[in-house]
Amino acid sequence: MATSLEPIVVLSLIVGALAALVFAGVLAALIVFTIRFRDPRPGSVPQIHGHRGLEVAWTAAPLALLATIFALSLVTLGQIGQGATFGSLEPPVHVTVVGHQWWFEFRYPGGAVTANEAHIPAGVPIELDLGSADVIHDLWIPELGAKSDIVPGQRNVLRLFTARPGTFSGACAEFCGLEHAWMRVLIVAEPRADFERWLRSQAAPASGQAGRGLEVVRSAVCSSCHVVRGQLAGTSIGPDLTHVGSRATLAGGVLANTDEGMRAWIADPQRYKPGALMPRVPLSAADLDAVVAYLRSLR
């Protein structure tokens, strides 16, 4: 199977075709009868009160149709639900996902922690263990099929699979407050060897350029929400920044992770993501440049 979306597409095409047939039938009858029996003249026609056989027929036929659809849906559920292997012989890779207002945190075995961008090996079943730090969120990567709510106080598992490498865009699908719209995520699927290399580099402590930028980050309020493993001790309220320079986007997809994007974001987060929990930190232009250079060096 190419992706975990595939069984859903197959089922949707079957259900969609059947629904289209039913709709076409009803619409055709509606139009044909209306044209055929339209007659504004006064007078009356034979009074037909009903037909028991027809009632039985149009109760039984939909029942049979729906029973078929239900049976097919159980088959599909078996292909994507608990215990699904997606035709792969590899044991599943586990990643812990924590939903936050308004960003996704990904924690890998071995210590790698990232935000809003997760890498996965292609050709291997992925099991995402979902938890929430605050309200209900939902992780949905449309190109990989099913979604799952992320419920505080509950552990849900989302099973995904893709045979081919690629970058897949997704988002939070459950309304979670002000910036639900900018809680987007990228899933990067790559060959196993590339994935392992990425995982090792993400697990390693930071090796950002020391200097003015690091000093500012250490002296400003950054550490009250962020951690740079090996260079900035802090708390994990906000995204782990150890390898922030390696990610494609910032702040849940609202800005591209370029020098300009990083500068714009730090200079005024509320302008780009009104309601985001990151405050505006007053920095001189020189300090801002230094911080941007430092963060961008965290590859």
Binding site: I8, F37, V135, W140, S148, D149, Q154, C172, A173
Partner: protein, 541 residues
């Protein structure tokens, strides 16, 4: 809008007794006016949302305003538009259809209306009291808990819905008792008009569903004001419990606002086909089946919550089952057309439009009952498209059909046909453009309840088309208002029975006198006026 009609017609309004009227017809009109006023408000909210979403990255609304508006749009359209409009029609029409002089408890009826209005006012006071509720009409915990919703919006939500809900509950008691005990001689349950049948079933649904909502609201209030933790996982509560309580009310609510619409269509299609309703017993019986099944489908709103595969399978099967009695109704309406003498007057035009659009909403509903499809489509714009096909393409189209049908009875004047057709085509084109692309957007991956969306995903065009459609719907509503205004001022007189209709409301004057009938009628079949006009070809008893 109909003020002139109100002043002209005899009775309570003419003597400014609107505040103390207990006449079911006056209260019915008040309910409909309430529904229309909130329809205008909820419609403007929808237009603002659509303007903000017309393209990616717009900043017409900030996220806080957007969240308040989409929340209030949903609450308004469900609780202050759909329910009052249908209860209003039921209030006006049901006693007339069953040959009764009024409802069983006229004073309670007035209380129901004023509670509903007061609840609506409470909800809207939130805007001036520091911010409207902004957690969606579904108000999922823990977003509504004091730790996350620090303003007072959610408290207004609790009080507004509890108060208007109390009005809905007392109204349902009144209608159920009226239908069960107030029928004229000869009108056994097997002869009750189908609209009245559906109102009866709806009343029982309200009696079973609304108290669940009220209980959940009280629990939320305890959490918010008394330090409770029912729905707060951080304090040992359960966020999913709210969803169970809300949807075990919320899904019957869908049938509460659609069964009376089915009833209207079941009145109109036979009259304008010159035939009796095909399969009366099956149409009534399927309504009862829908009523029972509607209480075992709620978790199809929760397939992605993680209830487990077997729970999901149960609710999937139950949700599919409910499509069967719904289909039975559609097939019987279509069969009623067969070999009829079809007159395309405006009520019939809207009724036919209803069948076509409602079937789309019903079929996409079946697709959402299929768990794997739902796991993809839920919480996406596909669901927004689906629910608007059901509630707009279904309920509101039927309400328009009912408005064109019963307006002559209420005012004594017909609504204009040409303006009616303009209204119809603007509405049909508008709803198709507004809601059909939403299905496509959802399948492309656009989540619901987002205040904006990123460029580069190809969502701009579909959203723009949807926005254009919303404005076409608004244009249609303006044409309807114009039509009503012109008819009230000098429309064609309707007489007692402009449609050659079948049921008792057409046997009295238009508008009916305060006591409804000169003498209490006596019936011997399902279509008393047909029997009277065709003594040689009366319905079988």
């Amino acid at each position: 809008m109909t003020a002139a009609a109100l002043v002209r017609r005899p009775g309570a309004f003419a003597t400014a007794g609107v505040l103390r009227t207990v006449d079911h017809k006056d209260i019915g009109i008040l309910y409909v006016l309430l529904g229309v006023a909130f329809l205008a408000i909820g419609g403007v909210e929808a237009l603002l949302l659509r303007i903000q979403l017309a393209s990616s990255g717009l900043r017409v609304l900030d996220p806080s305003t957007y969240d308040q508006l989409f929340t209030m749009h949903g609450i308004t359209m469900i609780f202050l538009v759909a329910v009052p409009l249908l209860v209003g029609f039921a209030n006006y029409v049901v006693p007339l259809q069953i040959g009764a002089p009024d409802v069983a408890f006229p004073r309670l009826n007035a209380l129901s209306f004023w509670l509903t209005l007061f609840g609506g006012v409470l909800l809207y006071l939130s805007f001036v009291a520091g911010g409207a509720p902004d957690a969606g009409w579904f108000a999922y915990a823990p977003l509504t808990e004091p730790s996350h919703a620090v303003g007072s919006g959610m408290d207004w939500y609790v009080f507004g819905l509890a108060v208007s809900g109390a009005g809905t509950i007392t109204g349902a008691i009144n209608l159920a008792v009226t239908i069960l005990l107030g029928r004229c001689p000869g009108m056994v349950m097997g002869r009750v008009p189908m609209f009245t049948w559906m109102v009866l079933i709806t009343s029982f649904l309200i009696l079973a569903a609304y108290p669940v909502l009220t209980s959940a609201l009280v629990m939320l209030l305890v959490d918010r004001q008394l330090g409770g933790r029912f729905f707060d996982p951080a304090g040992g509560g359960n966020a999913v419990l709210w969803q169970h309580l809300f949807w075990s009310f919320g899904h019957p609510e869908v049938y509460i606002v659609v069964l009376p619409a089915f009833g209207m269509i079941s009145e109109i299609v036979p009259v304008f086909s010159g035939k009796p309703l095909f399969g009366y017993r099956f149409v009534a019986g399927s309504g009862i089946a829908i009523g029972f099944l509607s209480f075992s489908v709620w978790a199809h709103h929760m397939f992605a919550v993680g209830l487990g595969d077997s729970e999901n399978a149960f609710f999937s099967a139950a949700s599919m089952l409910i499509a069967i009695p719904t289909g039975v109704k559609v097939f019987n309406w279509v069969a009623t057309l067969w070999r009829g003498r079809i007159r395309l007057a405006m009520p019939m035009v809207f009724a036919l439009g209803f069948i076509a659009t409602f079937v789309i909403g019903g079929l996409t509903g079946v697709s959402l009952a299929v768990v794997p499809i739902d796991l993809y489509a839920t919480d996406s714009y596909y669901v927004v498209g689906h629910l608007h096909y059901v509630l707009f393409g279904g309920t509101l189209m039927a309400v328009f059909a009912g408005l064109y049908y019963w307006f002559p009875k209420v005012t004594g004047r017909l609504l204009g046909h040409r303006l009616g057709l303009t209204h119809f085509w603007l509405t049909l084109a508008g709803l198709t453009l507004a809601f059909l692309p939403m299905h496509w957007l959802g399948l492309q991956g656009m989540p619901r309840r987002v205040w904006t969306y990123p460029p580069g995903l190809g969502w701009e065009w579909s959203n723009l088309v949807s926005t254009v459609g919303a404005f076409l719907i608004a244009a249609g509503a303006i044409v309807l208002a114009l039509n009503v205004w012109r008819s009230v001022r000098g429309g064609e007189p309707a007489g007692d029975d402009p449609w050659d209709a079948y049921t008792l409301e057409w046997s009295t004057s238009s508008p009916p006198p305060a006591y409804n009938f000169e003498s209490i009628p006596r019936v011997r079949g399902k279509r008393p006026l047909w029997d009277r006009a065709h003594p040689d070809r009366m319905d079988p008893e």
